[in-house]
């Protein structure tokens, strides 16, 4: 697809909308796994923004893409550790609702 006719503000607007959707899920969900899913939406919106600004402003130096590569890897690590924490909490307290998990001591 030819990108020349898609303006930069289209991508910025889209990632603003996706960020707001993810923010809603982040605040309103009860289940810790659903909160992590919303975080993934927010991170993907940020990645889209990074890549769009790189493509339109500095397409000949690849810093923006390297940023996104590192972000994707960190997100993968975050999901692995987050799920392990969630399963550990579930085994101890038999719930994964973030509003019922109120103690720091195991």
């Amino acid at each position: 697809m030819n990108i020349a006719s898609v303006p930069l503000h289209f991508f910025v607007l889209l990632s603003a909308v996706l960020f707001a959707i993810g923010l809603y899920g982040l605040i309103s969900r009860r289940n810790a796994i659903a909160v992590l899913m919303s975080i993934e939406i927010v991170m993907n919106a940020a990645n889209l923004n990074f890549v769009a600004f790189w493509r339109y402003l500095h397409p000949h130096s690849l810093e923006g893409v390297v940023f996104v590569l590192v972000t994707i890897t960190v997100a993968a690590a975050e999901v692995a550790v987050g799920m392990a924490v969630v399963l550990s909490i579930y085994r101890m307290l038999h719930t994964v609702n973030v509003d019922e998990v109120a103690q720091m001591r195991g």
Binding site: M1, M37, L69, V74
Partner: protein
């Protein structure tokens, strides 16, 4: 922009936004987990439009493959994720929609105030050359972040195994 391109772009945008909405809104969390798939694919489609084929492949492998599977597994190992009688939003739901709608209006307003600087047309790039250059950069200028990322992944893997394993007592009982 031809009519076909416009239709493709509109379809991709609608798919991404609607699946993101479904992820945060549906009550059945297994369905929410599956709605992550069209969302990640849509973001990957935008990477393709921005001529980043390598990032598209990475998005498919890591997000649509690994992250979604891990999320679904974790959902299936916990309870009350498919029960239609269990509320999945907390008492902040109305406040959350107000906050995120306000955030969206603020961001869109900021974008429209700066529309002059944001209306750019991109330069042509060679998509194959981007992947080649990216490989070179990761092993020359950015070799330190690259190696640090592998250390991070290793420690995350060890940490996840340590956190998720059963307590020792249960293990011994299982052996007996």
């Amino acid at each position: 922009m031809s009519a076909l391109e416009l239709a493709l772009l509109t379809a991709l945008t609608v798919m991404t936004v609607i699946s993101a909405l479904m992820v945060v809104a549906v009550r059945n969390l297994i369905h929410a987990g599956f709605w992550l798939l069209p969302f990640f694919l849509g973001i990957g489609g935008f990477y393709l439009i921005l001529s980043l084929e390598f990032l598209f492949a990475l998005q498919l492998l890591l997000y649509a493959g690994a992250v979604m599977v891990v999320v679904l597994f974790a959902l299936m190992l916990t309870r009350d994720v498919m029960n239609p009688n269990v509320r999945q939003t907390n008492r902040l739901a109305i406040a959350a929609s107000a906050v995120s709608a306000g955030m969206m209006v603020y961001l869109i307003g900021a974008i429209y105030r700066n529309l002059g600087t944001l209306t750019l047309s991109p330069q042509a790039v060679n998509a194959e050359a981007i992947t080649r250059e990216l490989g070179k950069m990761l092993l020359n200028e950015y070799v330190l972040p690259f190696e640090l990322t592998s250390v991070l992944l290793l420690s995350a893997m060890l940490g996840a195994i340590f956190l998720a394993r059963s307590p020792k007592v249960e293990l011994e009982e299982e052996v007996r």
